[in-house]
Structures are given as C-alpha cells and as structure tokens.
C-alpha cells in the first residue's frame, strides 16, 4: 500500500511538475480557438458574401432610386411611402397573406392527416407514402404546366367534377376560385414532404403512453389530443414555420400557372419584386418590397415561436 501510495504521490508530483504554466495554457487555448475560427472561416465568409451581404445591400437599396443603369440615388423612405399608397401593392400583400395562411394551414393539416393514416400500418401504406412523396421529386415547371392544363375549363379536374354533376368551374380565370386552385397545387406538392416529417415524429412517440391511456379508457380522439398532439408540437411548429417561409417565397407556381391573374388575383409579393425590378427597372422599389416580405417572414416566425413556447408551457 505504502509503495502504491508513494508511487501515486510521485505520479502526482511528476504530473504537477510537467503541467504547463498558465501563460502557456492560455496560448494553447487561444491557438485552439484560432484553429477553430480558421476552420469555420470559409463558411462564415461564404454566408457573409453570398447571404448577409446581399441582404444588407438590398436593405440599403430600398432607400434609393435605382434603375440599374444610372447609379443608385438616396431617396429616404420614399419607396416605402409610395408602396403604402399603391393599391396594386396592397392587393398583392393581401394575396400573399391569404396564400401563406391558406397553404400553411392546409399543408399542416393534410401532412399530419396523411402521416396518421400511414402510421396505422394498414397494408400498402408504405407504398402509398412512396407514391405520394413523388410529388416532391417532379420538376416544378412540369408540375405547374400539368396543373394548368388540368384546371382548364375543359380539363381533367372539371371532367371529374362533371361526373358528380358539377358544372363548369373557371378555376384559373375567376378571382373566386383561382387562389384556392393555387393553394391546392401547393398542398399537393408540399404536404407529402411534411407528411414524412410528421411520420418521423409519430414513430418517435413511445407506445407505452398509448397503452397506458388505453388501459385508462381513453378513446382515439382523447389519445390524439392528449398524447399525440403534445408530443408532436415541436414538429408541428417546425412544419408551420418551414412551410410558411416556403410559401412566403413562392414564385413559380403563380407565375407559371396564372401569371398573377386574372386581374391581380394571384399576384404575390415575390412576383411583384421580380416585375418591379426586372420588368419596370425599379430596383429600389423592388428592394423595398423584398424588405416588406422579409419582415412578414420574420414576424411569422417570431409569432410562431411565441405561440408554441406558450403552448408548450400550457401542455407542461
């Protein structure tokens, strides 16, 4: 024992003898940090140059008048003031909010419903999931063109509805039906993707919870309301935020399917940014619209964060 104790003591002594001095340790730590910074520097530079740089540039540009030919000229808040007084912008803003709200709600509901259906593990459910997910793999241009034909007054959708006795519906040429039509295409495209996300969340819920609830006599609706939904709430939050942001930036669908029409019924902010910048050569104004779109996305995300934080507290 004493031998062991003395060896340990020697070891301790020897370790303390070789321990680096504080200054050296500081240098080593700084060195390690510097190496760490060096490793992530390319990524930081990449984001600074290609993401945050242009973002800041766009914000700066929104206070200028810039036609892409002459140098930008500072105009203060004039672009924002003129947007506030522009009925086309106001209408487009409302369209965008309606589109984000409608699409996000339906994507979440349909995605969750599909995931619950797949999760019942009925025969063929997995194959159905694979088939549904294919909607995400198709090129968006092809999707839009096909839906444009399907929504023609004499297209497949009306032909199918005709079987059930429905009359002609001018899906893409009536302001009453055109936004729902675009939302249908959006949900068709994106809901299966989020279905997979929901399914991953559902599979992660321990089955013990359901077994215990079943023993206590809870029916399916109560099990869904008191177990599934609280357990899935982080996923629901993720789906709402991501699909909301996806919808806020939507461009190709309304652009290809309706070109913003009829009238102004499906013109969304991203389309207006494109038209204002590249067709009307008003880059400053286009940048101001982009900033508005950015603020909407930001408010949407922050709002969701608060809402879900409070919901989680309630569940807890």
């Amino acid at each position: 024992m004493s031998d062991l104790s003395s060896r340990i003591a020697r070891g301790v002594r020897s370790r303390s003898a070789t321990r680096p001095r504080p200054l050296f340790r500081l240098r080593q730590r700084t060195n390690t940090r510097l190496w760490g910074v060096a490793f992530i520097l390319p990524a930081i530079l990449f984001f600074a140059v290609f993401k945050y740089g242009p973002m800041l540039w766009a914000i700066g540009l929104s206070f200028t008048s810039y036609d892409m030919v002459s140098p930008p000229r500072y105009v203060g808040l004039e672009n924002y003031a003129s947007l506030a007084g522009d009925p086309v912008f106001r209408e487009t803003l409302i369209n965008t909010l309606v589109y984000i709200g409608g699409s996000t709600a339906l994507i979440t509901l349909v995605g969750l419903s599909l995931a619950l259906a797949i999760n019942t593990r009925v025969p063929g459910a997995r194959h159905c999931m694979t088939l549904m997910f294919l909607t995400n793999l198709m090129p968006i241009i092809a999707v839009c063109l096909v839906w444009r034909f399907m929504f023609n007054p004499y297209g497949l959708v009306n032909q199918l509805l005709h079987v059930f006795g429905a009359g002609r519906i001018d899906w893409l040429t009536s302001s009453a039906t055109v936004m729902p039509a675009i939302i249908i295409v959006t949900v068709w495209r994106f809901a299966p993707y989020f279905m997979v996300v929901f399914l991953a969340g559902l599979l992660a819920i321990p089955s013990d919870y359901y077994e215990a609830a079943q023993i206590d006599g809870a029916n399916a609706i109560r099990r869904f309301w008191h177990i599934t939904l609280p357990q899935l709430s982080p996923i629901v939050y993720f789906v709402i935020v991501v699909s909301g942001l996806l919808c806020a930036r939507i461009f190709l669908m309304p652009y290809i399917i309706t070109d913003g029409g009829p009238g102004n019924a499906t013109r969304v902010l991203s389309m207006l940014v494109y038209e204002t910048g590249f067709s009307y050569l008003k880059m400053g104004r286009a940048a101001a619209i982009s900033v508005v779109l950015f603020v909407i996305s930001l408010l949407f995300t922050v709002g969701q964060m608060h809402f879900f934080a409070r919901s989680e507290e309630t569940f807890e």
């Binding site: 008048s65 036609d67 892409m68 030919v69 002459s70 000229r73 004039e78 003129s82 522009d86 009925p87 086309v88 444009r148 034909f149 023609n152 007054p153 004499y154 009359g167 002609r168 001018d170 893409l172 040429t173 009536s174 302001s175 399917i257 309706t258 070109d259 029409g261 009829p262 009238g263 102004n264 038209e275 590249f278 067709s279 009307y280 050569l281 008003k282 400053g284 104004r285």
Partner: protein
Amino acid sequence: MSPTTRLPARATTRRTVLRGIGVTAAAASLPHRGFGQAKAPIQLGFWTYDNPQQRPWLQKRVKLYTEQNPNVTVDFQWFPFGDLGKKISVGFATGTAPEGFVSQDWFMPLWFDKDLIAPLDVQRLGYGSLDKFQSDFAPASVSSAIRDGQTFGYPLWFYGYANYLNTKQFKEVGLDPDKDAPATWDQLGEVAQRLTIRQGDKFVRQGFKFAMHSAAWTVIQFNPILLGAGGQWFDTSGKCAVNSEAGVKAMTTRASIAHKYHAEDPADSIATNPLPQLDWLKERCSMFFQLPLPPVLVEKENPAMASGDYYRPVQYPGYVAGKGISSTYGFNLVINARAPKEKQEVLHDLYRFILSDPMDAWKAAAPFPLALKGGWTEDPLVQKFPHVEEILKARDNGVPLPRCLVYNEMADAMHRAIQSILLEKADIKATLDTAAAEIDRANEAYRKS
C-alpha cells in the same frame, strides 16, 4: 562580276528550289500581314431575340461579314423574345451590355431617355441625308428610331397584324370569305357569331378569339381598336387617356365578341397554349389577329390547312368599313452608346452589310417583312408569295404600339383591366379609371426617379 551572276547558268539545285519556295511564301504572306496591320482585331458583342427564321438568317449574315473581315469577331448571342429587353437592361447595369443589339421598337424611348444608344451616321450606312434614310423605310417603323434630327436605330424588321380567316369554316356556314370578310367591328361580331359552334357551355369552335395570355398581346390587339375609336393612350399633357369616352367605346368593342356576340370563350386558352395562335391553327377558332404567319408554321401545326390553302389574312376591321388600321411593331439595329468609337464604326459597316441583300432576308424569313420599303418587294419571288399584298398593306398602314417610358407597366395595367372586364365582367369605365390611375402613378414615379 559577282559570283551570283553566274548562278542562272548553273543547273537548278535543291537549295535554289527551297529558296524560291521560301521567297514565294514570304511574298504571298505580305498582303495579309499588311492587312492585319492596317485593321486591328476587333471583338464585338451582339444580342438578338430568338425566332426560328429571323435569328438564323441574322446569324448567317454576321458570320458572312466576319468571314469577309477576318479582323472582326462577333460574340453572337440570342435570348427568348420576352427576355431580350431585361437582359439588355441588366447588361447595361452590370457593364456587360453588348456593343450592338436588336431592340424592340417599344424600348427605344427608354434607351433614349437614359442615353444608352448612340446616334447612327447615316452616311456610313450609305445614305446621303437623314431624309433619304427616312424615306427608305415604312414611316411607322423609322419614326421609332429618330430623335432630335438623328437616327439611333437602323430599322430591320417591321410588320403589321392582320385578321387571319379560316376560309373553309367561312364556307361551311355559308359565308363568302372574299365578300363577307368583316370590315367593321360590328361585322366582326356578327360573322364570329355565325361561325361559333357551342355545345351547352362548351365552345366547340369560337368564331373569333382575342389573345388573353400576355400583356404584350393585350396591347398589340387593343391598340388599333383604341386609336380607331378616336382614342389615345396619353393626352398632350402626358396623362393616360385610356379611360376617355373613346377608350370606353374601344373596350366595349373589345369585350363585345365575348359578352354581346358570345363568339369567344376568354377563359378557354388563357394560359394553356404554347402559341397564342394555336387555337386558330388547330381550327378551334375561325378568325384571329396575328402577325404574318410563316407557311412552315401552318404546315407544322395543320398540314391539311397548308395543303388545302384555306386561310388568308385580311385587314383589321374598323369603326368605318375600309378604315381599319393594323397594329405594328418592329425591330431596330442599335449601337451601345458606351461602345468605343472604332467598334461603333465597325457596327455601322456590319449593319449596312446585314441589310445589303434584302432578298436574302425574305428568302430566309418570309413572310416577316423588312422595314425597308424597296429593293425587294418588287421581286417576283415576293410578288408570288401568297397574300403578300395584305401583309405589306398591314405593315404600311399600321399604327405603332404606344411608345412611352413605362411601357411594361402600362401593358400590365391594361392586361389586368382586360382580364377583369372579360373574365369578371367588371364595369368598363371604373376598370379603365383604375388602369389609367396605375399608369399615371408609374409615369409619375418614373419622372421623380
């Protein structure tokens, strides 16, 4: 005597043969070297729009020029028709605009306003004076290129729209395409009504069809109705005047085919056809206003129509018979004002060369007419071309598209208005008021900027 004087007396040796070849080669290379020194290498950028007939011809002419002038190389690029203007704008913004390009004539006011294109030297283009230059082209065409007593564009193509009839369908309903071709707007509605076939709420055949798919076509097709009704796009003070009494009259006429005569379905092909004239080519409508139709396109889309030759263009109807006017537009060869002087000079020569053989253009791109009035129209090949007289009449009697600084915004506002009126049956006067207000706001913003 030097020893060399004795050389001719000597037999030809291998060395003398080689020396001779060397001297000959050196002599032969001299003129080229001299040419190369006189003309420094010049690299030009040139952009145009794509079109299956016009673009290959233009490219061929440019290539031919560079072959004849080896010191000149041209980076020839082309873009979809609707994208060219945007590409050029971005090119100017980023300093990558080409030295020369083809400009749609409705963009000319914008280039003028920003001083982006250079004035052309008419003498270098082969004209004694600006008057002689102007008299060589269709008036509506050359007017787009002139500013402050100078020309900034060399008119290339210029064409007018015509009413294309399906003569077989005319005969099917007992109409004579020669006598009954509509000469007034009312006649157009009545004839279209007779040609229409419906099954319940479905149109089997539309008597007439206005394009509803794009803002550009909206303006092209509405322009002659508005001007024919005595209206105008802008009044003398620059305020938009489409909501005037004449504007309402023109829009009422425009909407009458669908709403009064029920001869067209504005919702049908709004965004489903790759070509706006496809309904007419596929015989789903009997009449359609369009630009000169290449026979190759008819052959491709409807061989029976091509072989049966049962179509023909006639002039636009008017509010008074025989007074119909066509909508026209064209394209100018222009030079970037920022291009160096020597490049501008070469571009003058290139443009002059391109248009030096108008018949070559006609052979390659018929029936798209050149803006040049003469030098080709009298050729038997042109004279024999089916309905060429109608095509040229539409070009020469046509009115140009509105030329303003906010053309795209104006076209979009009018497109929205027409969609609301035709598809939602919105009140014409109120909708035109809204459109006019939008156009005035765009003008105001442009002036401010």
